[in-house]
Symmetry: C2
Subunit: 163 residues, 2 copies
DNA sequence: GGAAATAGAACCGGTTCGGTTCTCTTTCAA
DNA sequence: TTGAAAGAGAACCGAACCGGTTCTATTTCC
């Protein structure tokens, strides 16, 4: 079904949240609460993203994660690749791995490659900034950002990820 | 990894073979031999494609499958949808099913939808005909098609799909 | 030194997927 | 008329992958 893994799904959500205040760093637990993704998952995802240089991390007490770059400079393709590995629709399309088995006489070979490329381009053409900004005309009318004061996250009712 | 299922993979290969002689019908077993996909798999795939009106089938002895339309009128998106179900990257992007769980407060919602659409468009923009034709400058210089005479398929050495 | 945070890896059950097999129906031709 | 050659359709099975958890080690600040 050409399904995208949950990892990437949640990943984007978390990053989107982070992109609302690009400079600011947030702890994993805070982000988990803010996005309703289980803390364990959030941690896992953040670690992956940090390793891919999409986030920068600060360890120790008062630590946390922040975007490594402005959201306009982070593409969806990047994020997915960081979390789910290389984007390769078919096993054979990506040169390097040869596990398709038909390769030798396959007539569709370069066709696949073209498709792959089309999709990667589509994904690379969308930035985190675009994902984060609500479509013009959205329901939520650009919240009057509560003045600095702690502003506890909505603490989403149900936590995702608990079986 | 945004992996496409093998079903679709093989499906395209088989259809590609069929597209080389758009008018002609071929039996499943013949196609299996021609494409090096296991006969069982080939059968399964062909049935699915026939049910989706991409192929027309003729039962009984001397039966077989043929393209229901000229290859220019069959898109890759169609094929994938026939074999792997609807193309929906994320569970939430497709209106109707609600199993993402975050939907309520998810900021990335419409972003997903845009991405989904981009990919579907990319897939819908490539036709079977385009897949079938070797890229200009391909290795194989448009085989001089052997004159009608039985022309046994190359009978690919190794059969795919046998564990 | 200890609490709060990230880093990293191992682990585990469930679901899905690739693939096979079986039975039933249709068609043609000897 | 009958049987072989095809497709239709469903059930079935093992294995890989995935979502999710948990545990330990390391870093940092107070
Ligand atoms: S090489 Fe894998 S489908 Fe063609
Ligand atoms: S609604 Fe599912 S990720 Fe946003």
């Amino acid at each position: 079904m050409i399904r995208l893994s949950r990892l990437s799904d949640y990943g984007i959500v978390i990053l989107t949240r982070l992109a609302r205040e690009p400079g600011r760093a947030m702890a994993a637990s805070t982000l988990a609460r803010a996005t309703a993704v289980s803390t364990a998952m959030t941690g896992k995802i953040l670690k992956l993203l940090a390793r891919a240089d999409i986030l920068v991390s600060q360890r120790g007490v008062r630590g946390g994660y922040a975007l490594a770059r402005p959201p306009e400079a982070i593409t969806v393709a990047e994020i997915i690749e960081a979390l789910d590995g290389p984007i390769a629709l078919t096993s054979c399309a990506d040169p390097g791995t040869h596990d398709c088995g038909i390769e030798a006489l396959c007539p569709a070979r370069d066709g696949w490659r073209r498709i792959n490329r089309a999709i990667r381009d589509a994904l690379a053409g969308i930035t985190l900034a675009e994902m984060a900004q609500a479509v013009p005309g959205d329901l939520v009318p650009t919240f009057a950002t509560p003045p600095r004061a702690a502003a506890p996250e909505p603490a989403a009712a149900a936590s995702i990820g608990a079986r």
